[in-house]
Symmetry: C2
Subunit: 360 residues, 2 copies
């Protein structure tokens, strides 16, 4: 079962709102359906959102052929619609910018060639994504000790990306190297991505795990049962601050208080060097019903006021390292991230950054 | 609607598993039904469990009249059955010890008088409980600044006690004094006592609140939106360590990291001076289904391994003060709690303890 796949002119998505009880594929035949799928979290995870949006642009290019307004105008409007689906994960904007730049550069092509070029680009992004996940897996697995008990929050596995996984990809790589690992899975309220998705993926990978409520993480840290924390990210900014699923910041504070290493794992498409610090990241506020209801069953009394930020920001000072597909960044994060970005995106080899830093 | 009430030879309990959607009264006509109600959390909250158990002893005394084994033997067996229902909250043992001592002292009475004496004692405990809650409310309200935004975890209101409330009692007292307060309500997974019960009580008291998932507390602390934390306790031990609902320890670590005062509110019947430190407290482990299912709807895949400790322990070093019905204890907690206990349980007036300490 693939997270997302483009076939016969349609984007096929594994509907993540239905997991783990049903593995249902939803077919998006136009970009509006992709917008709906992103907003309703049928597809979620920063890299997967970016890829879905890229294929959404391909669908829009297919649609544009029959539209009066002109292909470029139609496509720009579709891209704006896709851009407005979710505000926090930067991969969405990265993917749309890349598709838009290509569309503008290839504006001279006939409709069929234009669609083909965009489809090839989105397919290339999907391939790059898997490759980058495998690279992060290799960099990160070195940081996972034999026997490690790893706590993770939300879902950062193959379901959050094109294939393989970010934080779960590192855990998987360590497992594949023959290291015995055990995963503490935060259920991740309100939408239970940990309980529903991470458990499901770990079962398929035969990696042992224990599911806990988010409120139990501190208890097991205090007992000495957690060796490290590894999570994905929705946006890493220039100073190393990072946005991720609500609850991540709390886990980072707890890890710090218990002297437990805390790692973000994210491809460079998640790194937003244009934003200087985390306080500038827009946090998506989602609807109250995600907190007050469960599968249509009301939890809280009518009239209950709810706050429901979907993300929080972890300041760089709480982070041990950020594992990217270009190498591992450590404090001072601003400098290391800029080095990894490089003037041409790769002046420093990943190892030169690793070499200079203390491997905790 | 009362948390619990004894009427016409039966213990009436407001079924807390059904709130907030339905206010259903369950009638316990024998002590087995009280055991079931405690184990299945129809009645919960340390003081309320103690009171329910005390009335359970009254029911057992009624039953004993018709038993062959002899009243004393029957009653002792019933008390052991009640004692085994839940291991962590100390009020249960405190209440049963008190009822058992009285039963032994009054063993010479005829059946009718014996039941009447036990019923009077349980009724007295219920009255004392409300009085003690009101006293804690008065002590604690002094620590609540005008405009305070107070975070609480689980439910420590009238539903957790006989009447009024412990931590919620303090909030209520501050509100009744005309202070504007706002409550951040942690939903309190897995059983959602915050989302279901605390919201329900705050609505009835017209105290403004916002419901959040447990994983959001850190985010709002970092934003400066939380002025203090106030929670109940299931057991406070000699050195000031305290057990409370799972998640409390995490909140305490977060409060400490954000320099936010953290208060326990508990009557002296929750204080267990016979246990030296928190690592000696037995933590109840509850069944997996509380985490993997919701209202019969499965959340996690079949075969998911779960950890489900119902409580955690907060070390005294994270606690600003413990508000008891005999006064406010602060560090050094061991000394202050012993002073409040007193040789005769009250040598020091509460104010003498308050006077010597810094009121944060």
């Amino acid at each position: 079962v693939k997270t997302l796949e483009f076939r016969d002119g349609a984007l096929l998505l594994l509907d993540q709102t239905r997991l783990p009880l049903s593995a249902v594929i939803v077919e998006c035949r136009d970009h509006h359906q992709v917008c709906e799928a992103i907003q309703s979290l049928r597809v979620r995870g920063a890299p997967a959102i970016g890829l879905a949006a890229a294929f959404g642009v391909v669908l829009a290019a297919q649609e544009a052929a029959g539209e009066d307004v002109g292909r470029g105008v139609y496509l720009d409007a579709a891209i704006e619609e896709l851009r407005a689906t979710r505000p926090t994960a930067v991969n969405l904007f990265w993917a749309l910018d890349r598709m838009q730049a290509l569309a503008r550069a290839q504006a001279h092509l006939d409709d069929a060639s234009f669609v083909a070029v965009l489809l090839a680009e989105a397919g290339e992004m999907l391939r790059e994504d898997e490759e980058s996940n495998r690279r992060m897996g290799a960099f990160g697995a070195d940081l996972v000790p034999e026997g490690a008990r790893i706590l993770t929050h939300c879902n950062s596995g193959a379901l959050a990306v094109g294939a393989y996984g970010t934080a779960l990809g590192v855990i998987r790589a360590a497992h594949d190297q023959g290291k015995r690992v055990h995963v503490w899975v935060d259920e991740t309220r309100p939408l239970l991505q940990g309980a529903r998705l991470t458990t499901w993926e770990l079962q398929q990978l035969s990696i042992p795990f224990t599911l806990i409520t988010d409120s139990m993480a501190a208890h097991f840290m205090a007992r000495g049962d957690v060796d490290l924390v590894m999570v994905g990210a929705d946006r890493v900014v220039a100073n190393g601050d990072a946005a991720n699923k609500i609850g991540t910041y709390g886990v980072a504070v707890l890890a710090h208080a218990h002297d437990i290493p805390f790692y973000f794992v994210a491809p460079f498409s998640t790194v937003d060097l244009a934003t200087p610090s985390g306080d500038r990241i827009v946090i998506e506020q989602r609807k109250s019903e995600e907190v007050t209801s469960f599968h249509g069953h009301r939890i809280a009394p009518e009239g209950t006021v709810v706050a429901n930020p979907a993300f929080d920001v972890t300041p760089a000072r709480l982070t041990t390292a950020i594992i990217t597909d270009r190498g591992v960044a450590r404090a001072p994060f601003g400098e290391h991230l800029a080095n990894l970005a490089g003037p041409a995106g790769g002046d420093d080899s990943p190892n030169s950054v690793l070499a200079g830093t203390d491997r905790r």
